[in-house]
């Protein structure tokens, strides 16, 4: 039985966007390999979320609803997942490549002695259910396709924002299976002294429909914020302006920043280093404005304009003021 499982990350009992993205990805992989989709839902008081996972593509939701899982800790989550894997032998096990998934998945892979591929941006499958996991390496300069031929489950963490979210279908049917864990309590020895949510200091660029993105060619970022407001969008940035201390890190797009796929991505004065392109090339409509007509950003833009980015921004602000 080709079971494709997804660890469905929740925080404060809210399913994370990457959990739903992975449900969509798993659904499509299952369709190509006569597989079924299993969702692993872990936490305390999380049972009400199971129905949403069925609507998003799960055939079976395995629910571990336990106070020991109220705060994320590596060992408790690893014990619960390893127990389920050993009972049901899934062929594939996917995690979001978040700071939780990238902590948890390697611990589990070592315990199960199986292969794990980090931070994938593309997943393919053959009819037998073998995964082809593609990931960037060497700072996004190279893409490697990894296979895990002889051990199961094949494990992978998948970069958030890369897979499209599935269309929710509330009429879908699925099974909800409550799971009780036989805890090895003596191993649960990391103590959570405090957990503090940090207020988001800047808007989340991953959620934006339109991004006004600034690179080295934009010296003054104030007009960008003005333009973003007029266009009902958000300001993002290339690494250059973050390194220069002009933009905040959470706005950074690219290999070492965030992956975004807005409906419109306006690149002002961004040359388009490969590391930057890795974070935005899936955007639906890309406009690039740059003085250098050979800039790599023009290779992936839908509309490329050779002009001074700051001057065009000023004109846009003027034009939208009048409108």
């Amino acid at each position: 039985m080709n079971r494709i499982w997804v660890f469905c990350e929740q925080r404060d009992n809210v399913l994370q966007p990457v959990a739903l993205e992975l449900m969509g990805a798993a659904r499509s992989l299952a369709a190509q390999s006569e597989g079924t989709v299993g969702a692993l839902l872990l936490g305390s008081g999380v049972s009400p979320l199971a129905q949403e996972l069925i609507a998003c593509g799960a055939d079976t939701v395995y629910v571990v609803d336990d106070e020991k899982l109220a705060h994320y800790t590596t060992e408790a989550y690893a014990q619960a997942i390893c127990q389920m894997v050993r009972e049901e032998n899934p062929a594939s096990l996917l995690f979001g490549a978040t700071s939780i998934g990238r902590d948890l998945a390697p611990r589990i892979s070592a315990r199960l002695r199986t292969g794990l591929t980090a931070d994938c941006t593309k997943l393919e499958i053959d009819e037998q259910g073998s995964l082809f996991m593609t990931r960037p390496a060497f700072g996004g300069n190279l893409f490697a396709t990894i296979i895990c031929p002889n051990s199961r489950p094949q494990m992978s963490t998948v970069r958030p924002g890369v897979m499209p979210k599935p269309v929710r279908d509330d009429s879908r049917q699925g099974e909800i299976v409550p799971v009780t864990v036989a805890w090895q309590t003596e191993k649960l020895c990391v103590r959570v002294v405090e957990e503090t949510k940090e207020s988001q200091s800047v808007e989340n660029i991953e959620e934006a429909k339109l991004l006004v993105s600034c690179g080295r060619g934009v010296k003054n970022t104030e007009p960008a914020f003005e333009l973003a407001k007029k266009m009902k969008g958000t300001v993002s940035s290339s690494r250059a302006l973050v390194d220069a201390g002009i933009m905040e890190q959470p706005r950074q797009v690219g290999q070492t920043g965030k992956t975004v796929r807005p409906q419109a991505y306006l690149a002002f004065g961004i040359s388009g280093a490969i590391q930057h392109l890795a974070g935005m090339e899936e955007s639906e409509y890309i406009v690039a404005i740059n003085t250098d007509k050979n800039a790599p950003i023009f290779k992936i833009a839908n509309l490329g304009i050779v002009a001074d980015a700051a001057a065009v921004m000023k004109e846009l602000n003027k034009l939208l003021e009048e409108a």
Binding site: A137, N141, T145, V190, I289, K293
Partner: protein, 259 residues
């Protein structure tokens, strides 16, 4: 307290370019450095040595050239360094690599193992947690701050939207973020002193490892193929004055109902 710091020598990936003709990585002339997160782990260990008293051992698995990275760690103030090297280790994926490094740590003995969060060439962040699992000790990853009191390690563990303050008794393993501390420079005295020091070698023969779990054959993951980025979008690039450009952009966005 005995601290082992695991470091990796990596090419400075920000300087890697693609050869436009052969479409392969141009690695010639790209300098090798200590992976940035790992260098911070060395700094964190040296600070614990200053505040709490400790011996700091730095280890690295890699080819003989990786000795240069270990020499730099000694020049920063580490007490001793070991290179884990053997042809039998070649082709190891993260699981096989972590098996070998865990074997070396077991042999050397440690209260606290420090690693960088991830290396800039592979970007996996997997080897640290996998070492901890092989050793059967707790892990704390994404450390933004680290202190030690008695036998207890206290860590500020960073998430995207929050942090946790975590405590664990030693032995344990912590992976640190480069932003935690600014690594110190090598100092003159330690540069001179490291010249006198031997870098220990740890080979397959020194460790009790199952040959079926190391190297290429002991690696569950295989690289099937690699590719550099291909672009296939062909578009028109327009040369326009700023006012015309603004009108064109607004028209294009409106046409797609994006404005």
């Amino acid at each position: 307290m005995k601290i082992i710091v695991c470091i990796k020598q990596v090419p400075n990936t920000t300087e890697i370019k693609i050869d436009p003709v052969t479409n392969t990585l141009k690695r010639d002339g790209v300098p090798s450095i200590i992976n940035p997160d790992d260098k911070t782990a060395i700094e964190a260990a040296l600070r614990l040595k200053e505040t709490n008293g400790a011996t700091v051992t730095v280890i690295s698995m890699g080819p003989p050239q990786a000795e240069k990275a270990l020499r730099e760690a000694l020049a920063m103030g580490a007490d001793e360094a070991f290179l884990i090297t053997d042809r039998a280790f070649g082709g190891s994926d993260t699981l096989a690599t972590s098996t070998i490094i865990a074997g070396a740590i077991e042999k050397l003995g440690a209260d606290l193992v420090l690693c960088g969060r991830q290396a800039i060439d592979g970007d996996t962040a997997q080897v640290g947690p996998q070492i901890a699992e092989h050793l059967g000790i707790p892990q704390i990853t994404y450390a933004a701050d680290l202190s030690c009191e008695g036998n207890c390690i206290r860590v500020k563990r960073q998430f995207e939207d929050r942090y946790q303050i975590l405590e664990a008794d030693m032995p344990c393993l912590v992976t640190v973020l480069a932003t935690m501390e600014k690594p110190r420079y090598m100092n003159v005295w330690d540069i001179v002193a490291q010249d006198e020091k031997e870098i220990g070698k740890i080979t397959f023969a020194d460790l009790t490892l199952d040959p079926a779990r190391i190297g290429l054959n002991g690696s569950p993951t295989k690289v099937k193929s690699t590719a550099t980025k291909q672009f296939d979008k062909t578009i028109e690039t327009l040369e326009l004055d700023p006012a015309e450009a603004a009108k064109t952009i607004v028209a294009a966005l409106q046409k797609r109902h994006l404005l």
